[in-house]
Symmetry: D2
Subunit: 385 residues, 4 copies
Amino acid sequence: MPRKLNIGILGCGFMAKIHANAYKKIGYVFSASLVEPELRMVYSRNESAVKRTAERFNFQKWTTNWKDIINDDIDIFDNTGSNDTHYEPTLLALKAGKHVIVEKPLAVNLQEAREMYDASQEAQKNGIKSMVAFNYRFIPALRLVKRIINEGRLGKIYQFRSNFLQDKMADPTVPFSWRLDKEKAGSFALGDLNSHAIDILRFLLQAEVDSVMGYQKTFNTKRPDQNGKQLSVDVDETSLLWLEMENGVLATLESSKVSTGYKAMWRIEIHGSEGGIYFDLTRANELQFYSKADPLYLQGMKVINVTEPEAHELFEDWLPRGHGIGWEYYHLYMLEHFLRSIVMGTDIGPQGATFYDGLKCQQVIEAAIMSFEKGTWIKIKDILE
Amino acid sequence: MPRKLNIGILGCGFMAKIHANAYKKIGYVFSASLVEPELRMVYSRNESAVKRTAERFNFQKWTTNWKDIINDDIDIFDNTGSNDTHYEPTLLALKAGKHVIVEKPLAVNLQEAREMYDASQEAQKNGIKSMVAFNYRFIPALRLVKRIINEGRLGKIYQFRSNFLQDKMADPTVPFSWRLDKEKAGSFALGDLNSHAIDILRFLLQAEVDSVMGYQKTFNTKRPDQNGKQLSVDVDETSLLWLEMENGVLATLESSKVSTGYKAMWRIEIHGSEGGIYFDLTRANELQFYSKADPLYLQGMKVINVTEPEAHELFEDWLPRGHGIGWEYYHLYMLEHFLRSIVMGTDIGPQGATFYDGLKCQQVIEAAIMSFEKGTWIKIKDILE
Amino acid sequence: MPRKLNIGILGCGFMAKIHANAYKKIGYVFSASLVEPELRMVYSRNESAVKRTAERFNFQKWTTNWKDIINDDIDIFDNTGSNDTHYEPTLLALKAGKHVIVEKPLAVNLQEAREMYDASQEAQKNGIKSMVAFNYRFIPALRLVKRIINEGRLGKIYQFRSNFLQDKMADPTVPFSWRLDKEKAGSFALGDLNSHAIDILRFLLQAEVDSVMGYQKTFNTKRPDQNGKQLSVDVDETSLLWLEMENGVLATLESSKVSTGYKAMWRIEIHGSEGGIYFDLTRANELQFYSKADPLYLQGMKVINVTEPEAHELFEDWLPRGHGIGWEYYHLYMLEHFLRSIVMGTDIGPQGATFYDGLKCQQVIEAAIMSFEKGTWIKIKDILE
Amino acid sequence: MPRKLNIGILGCGFMAKIHANAYKKIGYVFSASLVEPELRMVYSRNESAVKRTAERFNFQKWTTNWKDIINDDIDIFDNTGSNDTHYEPTLLALKAGKHVIVEKPLAVNLQEAREMYDASQEAQKNGIKSMVAFNYRFIPALRLVKRIINEGRLGKIYQFRSNFLQDKMADPTVPFSWRLDKEKAGSFALGDLNSHAIDILRFLLQAEVDSVMGYQKTFNTKRPDQNGKQLSVDVDETSLLWLEMENGVLATLESSKVSTGYKAMWRIEIHGSEGGIYFDLTRANELQFYSKADPLYLQGMKVINVTEPEAHELFEDWLPRGHGIGWEYYHLYMLEHFLRSIVMGTDIGPQGATFYDGLKCQQVIEAAIMSFEKGTWIKIKDILE
């Protein structure tokens, strides 16, 4: 019998919808699901919004006071709120013995992230699980990258390149929002997009960052608010990082919100002495792989359709091969992993992102900002002190 | 308040799962859904299979007698069974005043299809809806094709080309199944895949077929059954069609089950005096469009990411632009259209496929087989007599 | 010391220029060229045109009487004239002991092709070489296909598909020319484009056609001449072929002059039990290859950049790997093969196209037209009688 | 009558061959060529090599003393030697009144570059032309980029991204050569590849670099010489640059010699408020262009086949549309421009690269190295002092 788990979600924006969808599907997408999530309560400070969300997804309850969730009979506290609402509710939920999953980036600064990590360590002693919602770890094509690397098919890895490129903000008339407010968001292209790249880099290479050179730029420094008033944008539209990894790999990460031509491209390339990788989120059911193990006359970039239930990790026996899954599935697979870890008592990592992963990511973000401000390389170990 | 609709599904194979998933999501994917489907009953002759399915998807009941569904308090009879189980249950359900959706192809022969069409006409007088599950009419990229054609952007259309290419049967050891049995399936590459192409051709061009040249081939004429016994394959692994359309367009349709290299490619190309179209199901979130209205030095095949909630028909305001949907959504959109038509009393066509569309498709299938057997062109009007 | 060979070219159109360019380059592109072609004489009935061509390419002489070439001290008679000028000059040149290369298709009908083949057989007794200018046999990527097939990497071949798609004639205002005149050209999409496909099919599969179903269509039946007078177009803008090969392969060939969106696409796909091939002339430096010998989780279409001097047949050690060659090189490689065969006394085939290949191609063309006219399949052996 | 121009080439390596080929073709590829280049003399210190080259390309003379070329009756001194042989011979040739074209980068350091620029200015007073062989300015697809930018189709440009990625050195056993010797080459990935990117950036944007952040890395620090002796590699295998342009554009340039998977990819992306550009040297006959001027539902990356003689700058009326040119043509077009400038007395720039362009490129290279060594941003104006 699958185990019932009561879910409480903080936030009722876009990500809350995607999570609610995932919880509803987990029970049947997986032919032998161990869990049966129950949408128990949802919170937003906006009463009409939270009521609409509760109705749409059949939550049992809604509230405009987030503490109500923690005080309720929930098993899981799912924090999809804006970045500045991660810290306090997460700490409280952990203390209350709730399993917690929180959106990325973990916090708006390193200090908060470290406290949250400490709290998660403490909670773990009581079997309480915590996870950061780095959902892209659950793309089947990226799992295949990990397998290819682990099998040594890339040889000695030289370079890792990530370009996370969106274009919505290329239009100067797109209005101001909380993501453009440094206090609420911490950073923009860096925290919203490059945080994913930092996590995937660490995840795929199983290595830590040694030192960081960062740069960032804002092309449109004023944006109108909903009343047409011009507000100053003090976060980055483009974030550039050069990372020296402890294992000698050179990583170059760029994220941009003004890359006209790309609605949501995320290009990842890895080059080693024996092979190479190309991935693009726009065509996320595919992975490109080049191997020097092939005879020279047959070497080339192979476009692998990563949809073989028999062969591709994570790709459930749900759709037939060749019939791609959409973006929502990375969240679904992530949440299934989280719930299964709870029920089975297994570890979140290394497949899922722990609060330790969230902390390490935050260190790189902090180093990037420091490097940008000073115009020099920053050693990660100097951040830790 | 959304209206409750009780669903009964005949069959518990792959397509039943996809439909069950869709029914579960309709209520919340659409922000203002008018319906709330209820999974009432599922049927399979295989008791253990149907029990598992009922449990997995929370059907209220299951049965091993399909007539139970029709006799139950259902609103919708969803027939996902093998081709030879379309005819009788569909007729009975319509007679019982149930709305019916039935898998494609509508029937195993033209005679059955015509009777089913007649029954649907009769039922319609009482407000009973019927639909054929040609789900690919609900791909946002193909809706965009229709819009482009309707806006005259292709000019006078010369050619329509479809290649529906899969490779599963390229392996001679893949075992026998009902789809390889002419009596149960009618045909294979023709009925399973080219039926889709015929429907989309008619749907996009809004024109009927005038005459047909057909050919088919079976490369692996024996397949092992589950006990290793070699059985004869009497259906087509590859189906070739040349169609002269009444409006002068030349259509060439190929479907193949042995096209190694393609797990599930469906390439559609349309060429007109003013523009051209390229679509591939493998990258179904994209459409390629060439327009001679551009200045000569800027003409090219434009790769449109068909994921703009503000601009692209069917693409719900559910995922952000650039974040693609998976294959299950064409079924979801199709069933939502069906249910909405029932609740609103609106027409199934021309967006959805009516039984008339199913009948017209069946005529072309029949003509194709006749043409193959005679080795000559067949006029559709000679089939109707 | 490379051997001097005097070249005489009939025609001064586009193909004559490409051949002249090739003759000029052969001596140095190949680091150890055995020949030094000399541009001796060029013919056109248009005096001003032929003078311009002679000057531009430094031909020693020009003439408006094509027999002058044969009577001159030439070694090679290169016939690039319109299709109706292949027959008589080729026969005369062979009789005069000149090596002959002639544009495809070999002739405007089968009767002429057979006589030309007989003449080439007769000439061969005296060491006189003859070749048909099927230049696409000399695309490095297609040579790689041949190697892949020969190595058994496709297994048992099921299907061969060719789509040769151009769009120039999609514009109804494009004027009349000799290619649209049945008497001068024989056929259009069939003879100009599908002839290439027929030859490559035979070349790659090393098999003959057994039977043919043909169809063709003209969408724009009137075209203006240079004075604006409307002339009737009696040749095909689109040519469709289904071919049953003697070895059981099913080939489907289409050529079209009205495929808006494609300036000069030629897509070739081959599917076998063990692998698949995709080639497109638009990206002719690439070949795509799918192999089931890879582990299932790594199977995919590999994009091979066919530019490795060390590994790829024909790709000369002239450009570095990754730096593609242009369309002119297939002609260059073809003519080098022709000249080398002459100097070395080696065979034209199977790499180059002999007059036998030209004859076999012509038979299929004739069968295609006959099939179109009768609306039935035609056996090649019934053509030979 | 076309004017005869005597050519002397310093060097007989790969680039000398490509130039010799171009000189031989200029006279006939262009239907009304103004020049008739004559291959007069070639130099290499290696006697057997230079003799072979002279014979292969029909140079009238060869020498092992480069000064012989300058003392001979040549019009053009074409310097294709290694980077450390640019300075002295170029100065001498200019002084001797020869037109000079020199390979990129102009020099091995900024001091030499400035002297060479001064000399070119002096020579120009006497009508002597000088040019740097930045051949990629002569890719038709990049000319189209320039046109698109000039027409304002990108709006306000935000970012320019270049990734010049090769993989030959990913193999640690590839032997040592002059390019890996800092004294002879100056730098490797930076000088050989990123120099192209710097030039194209300035060329396309018509703007200068304001400040530079540079980084570089060598992954294989030892390479065997021809005798198997391990030598130290003191140049960069990967070069990273961030450039702030004077006009506010942020440019990110990477070049790498160890990017397994790419034989010779050069990806250029430009993003502006109104449009975007994608170019890849591997498919150099194509340009991708995204325009927000299209209606939202039709916006996409358009793949333009840049082969329209009627519409695309530089693409000569030589091959028919859709039939691509190879890499050699950028050199051909460049040298034709150089010779035409000489004969017509027109300017080298802004289409061709002048020594001023070479100098500006060298400044950025110098700034990049300085930035790498100091770990901080470098202002270009601080380099000029």
